[in-house]
């Protein structure tokens, strides 16, 4: 059996879980020592939020509040390229990764011993340390002696391209490395969700003649749709903050044309010694990110009501 799947399998992330028989909520108020304990339990996390989120974010807003910073950004041609790169990296990376993860989670549902063994290997990229893994990807692709180009020549007699001399190829390499690293994590989330779908639903669908692709479109996907949306939004937020992939795979090559906001902000701060400008560059993503969080929290909330 696949332990990784079961790891989260019982988590009620899917809306099909039968609602637990719950008594009408008793208006029970916390009293006396219980209230004190509850507050004491929440206190550590509240302190974390206040000290390590609220204060730095407030500081960031104050640092990046000068309008002239944004004028300076717009004037920098690298910034505009970077915005396009970020859209491509996040948009393609997240969506291709999530869609493949959803499909592959179906593949890993199959009950074959070798598929279970494969899942164990397939999870490796996720637990591998990012810096080292991406350095390895960098070495695989670089120059004529990189493993990929050597394989291309040995197996097919093709002269591989110089991956980091071409903006499209370098961007594609970043996206592929990102998918390689993070697809396993989401595959397991979807695998767990699929395992939580009661078998009766599949049986009923089969009697109605829905098998294969039709079952996926009309039965499985609608059941997972809400989870899929929430995961995609969460992954989008995480990916905008992803520094390692681009920094270690292409490192902006060729000529800073494949940077994303996360790495450009870093370059402004360190190479340009302009932390305010680095912050402003990242801040410019907030108008997109805040609505994403709001949709995500509301989606989570609706599901909680359904349960």
């Amino acid at each position: 059996m696949s332990g990784t799947g079961e790891l989260i399998a019982t988590g009620p992330l899917v809306s099909v879980q039968a609602p637990p028989p719950r008594p009408a909520p008793v208006a029970r108020r916390l009293l006396g020592s219980d209230l004190i304990w509850a507050i004491a339990f929440v206190l550590p996390y509240a302190a974390v939020l206040l000290a390590f989120v609220a204060y730095p974010v407030g500081y960031a807003l104050w640092m990046a509040s000068k309008p002239s910073l944004y004028a300076e950004l717009i004037d920098d041609p690298v910034y505009l390229t970077t915005v396009v790169n970020t859209l491509l990296f996040v948009g393609l990376g997240v969506n291709v990764k999530m869609f493949l993860a959803l499909l592959l989670s179906g593949f890993f549902m199959r009950r074959r011993w070798w598929i279970k063994a494969l899942l164990v290997i397939y999870m490796l990229p996720w637990v591998l340390a990012a810096v080292q893994a991406f350095i390895s990807v960098h070495w695989i692709l670089i120059g004529e002696m990189g493993l990929v180009n050597r394989l291309l020549e040995e197996l097919f007699g093709i002269d591989g391209p110089m991956w980091f001399n071409n903006r499209g190829l370098a961007l594609g390499s970043n996206i592929a490395a990102y998918i390689w690293k993070w697809m396993p994590f989401w595959t397991v989330i979807f695998l767990a969700a699929r395992m939580a779908i009661p078998q009766e639903i599949h049986d009923a669908a089969e009697i109605d003649g829905a098998t294969g692709a039709r079952r996926f479109v009309h039965v499985t996907f609608p059941l997972l749709a809400n989870l899929y949306l929430v995961c995609t939004l969460l992954s989008t937020l995480w990916t905008v903050g992803d520094f390692n992939t681009v920094y270690f795979v292409s490192n902006g090559a060729p000529a800073l044309s494949t940077d994303v906001l996360a790495t450009l902000g870093f370059r402004y701060t360190f190479d340009g010694i302009k932390p305010e400008l680095g912050l402003a560059a990242m801040m410019s993503a907030l108008p997109v990110l805040i609505p994403i969080v709001i949709i995500m929290v509301r989606r989570l909330h609706t599901r909680e009501v359904q349960l």
Partner: protein, 292 residues
């Protein structure tokens, strides 16, 4: 032969052919996934097993010509100028990783227990605010975080990195824990209450043991997060004695003069702790589920 029998035969043959196709298809897919997953890992071993010191680009082989474990020996004995402090750096990384894991478990489980099980009235706001953290991407939070640590007097301290990682891991941890907790009937708490259990006893004796599978997920997630980090470490750590493996390797990643076989051997050794914990906890979780 009757028509029906012929039809049945045809149907059976078609069914068999379709099964064969699916089987062959999934084998091809499995093979592609295997290569895809292992290629960068294979490359690490390819470079690490090469006895020649020096540039990676010189090897250019698909299989190691004379595989040797010398590079691992160099790492073990720290016999290279870049790896002279490897085990100290490894210890620093472990310190940050393990403390991130433990603190995330404690802080997130306490908060989810209070909000989800003790029905703390305004607790929902806290978990909502937790998710709002992710509106600020990790890379954006890093710069003001650095300034904030300055004002807290936590410059050049591993605790600053731990604080950052716990901050980033907790919202997801709380999300997972709160969802998993809905599977455990509240009646259990009520029954224990009648028997005179206090809030602390409920947390320790009922909540934590029953939540073990979700806690295992959170532990792995937090450890992997800390293990992946480079940005916060480079911002928050300066002194050579505080260096971590990720920092050391990240600094050198485009340095052709580094002994890359030893560097890759070091990378493989560094990769082991999360893998070990992942597979160890995986088994534990499975056992916990089948017993429960």
């Amino acid at each position: 032969m009757s028509v029906a029998a012929a039809g049945g035969e045809l149907f059976r043959r078609r069914y068999r052919r379709r099964r064969l196709f699916t089987e062959a298809g999934s084998m091809v897919l499995g093979f592609v996934l295997l290569i895809w997953s292992l290629l960068p890992i294979y490359n690490m071993f390819l470079i690490a097993l090469d006895p020649e010191e020096g540039e990676v680009e010189f090897t250019g082989n698909i299989v190691p010509p004379e595989p040797s474990l010398d590079a691992f020996g160099v790492v073990l004995t720290q016999d290279d100028r870049y790896l002279a402090q490897f085990w100290q750096q490894f210890g620093n990384s472990l310190y940050i990783g393990v403390l991130t894991m433990v603190l995330t478990l404690v802080i997130a489980s306490l908060a989810s227990f209070a909000v989800g099980r003790m029905r703390l009235g305004k607790g929902r706001w806290l978990t909502g605010a937790a998710l709002l953290t992710y509106a600020v991407p990790a890379a954006l939070l890093a710069i003001p975080f650095y300034r904030a640590m300055h004002s807290y007097g936590l410059t050049d301290s591993p605790w600053a990195v731990i604080a950052a990682q716990v901050t980033l891991a907790s919202p997801f941890a709380i999300l997972i824990l709160r969802h998993y907790a809905t599977l455990i009937p509240v009646e259990l708490d009520d029954a224990a209450r009648i028997d005179g259990a206090s809030a602390v006893q409920l947390y320790l004796r009922i909540y934590l043991p029953l939540m073990a599978p979700a806690l295992a997920v959170v532990a792995i997630f937090a450890l992997v997060l800390a293990w992946n980090d480079y940005l916060y470490q480079i911002l928050l750590l300066n002194a050579p004695g505080k260096m971590t493996v990720a920092l050391m390797q990240g600094h050198l990643f485009e340095d052709p003069d580094a002994a890359w076989n030893a560097m890759m051997a070091a990378a493989i050794i560094y990769a082991l702790p999360p893998i070990v914990i992942f597979y160890a906890l995986r088994r534990y979780v499975t056992a916990a589920l089948t017993v429960g």
